[in-house]
Symmetry: C2
Subunit: 112 residues, 2 copies
Amino acid sequence: MSDNDVFLADCPARTTLRLIADAWSVVVVYGLGQGPLRYSELAGRIGGISNKVLTQTLRRLERGGLVERRPLATAPPGAEYRLTPLGRSLLDPVSVLARWAEDHADELGGDD
Amino acid sequence: MSDNDVFLADCPARTTLRLIADAWSVVVVYGLGQGPLRYSELAGRIGGISNKVLTQTLRRLERGGLVERRPLATAPPGAEYRLTPLGRSLLDPVSVLARWAEDHADELGGDD
């Protein structure tokens, strides 16, 4: 049992929500849902993400323990990114949210 | 059937995700899940949210058609906020995400 509550300002749940309830975090976690990808593969899959934003998002997810970076013994050296078990447990909630966005985007009013 | 895809940069699904995959949007939608609330009640429920951020979040959700503002015939004049049918359809995905944050916050690495 946990006293974590997203309605409380200083609660770890609020900090966690700031990490996971972020459009780029959702797209990256969702994008890694089929299995590990190299950085360039992930960048290619996510349209319109800059290297800076993708790198920052991956680092935040790594620090949170949701994504793992594995060096690959290739020439030139590469790395792949994969969801950790904790990250995989987030895949369902994130997929539900992403699918809601896909299913209801046309019903939403303009954001400008 | 929809061609909306959160992986596509210019797709309405991406715009939608930016609106809904936001920590404040999640907390506000989740907070309205039990029924309509006045502004002050909502502000009281959500710890650590400034009036500026709450007002901006409510306006974005109103523009998106997820939240409705209803003037109340009270003295002094007040208003209450409620989820629209579209907003209520978002309640399940958002609740799943918020509960994941509450359940797993203690497992996450630091964000600093």
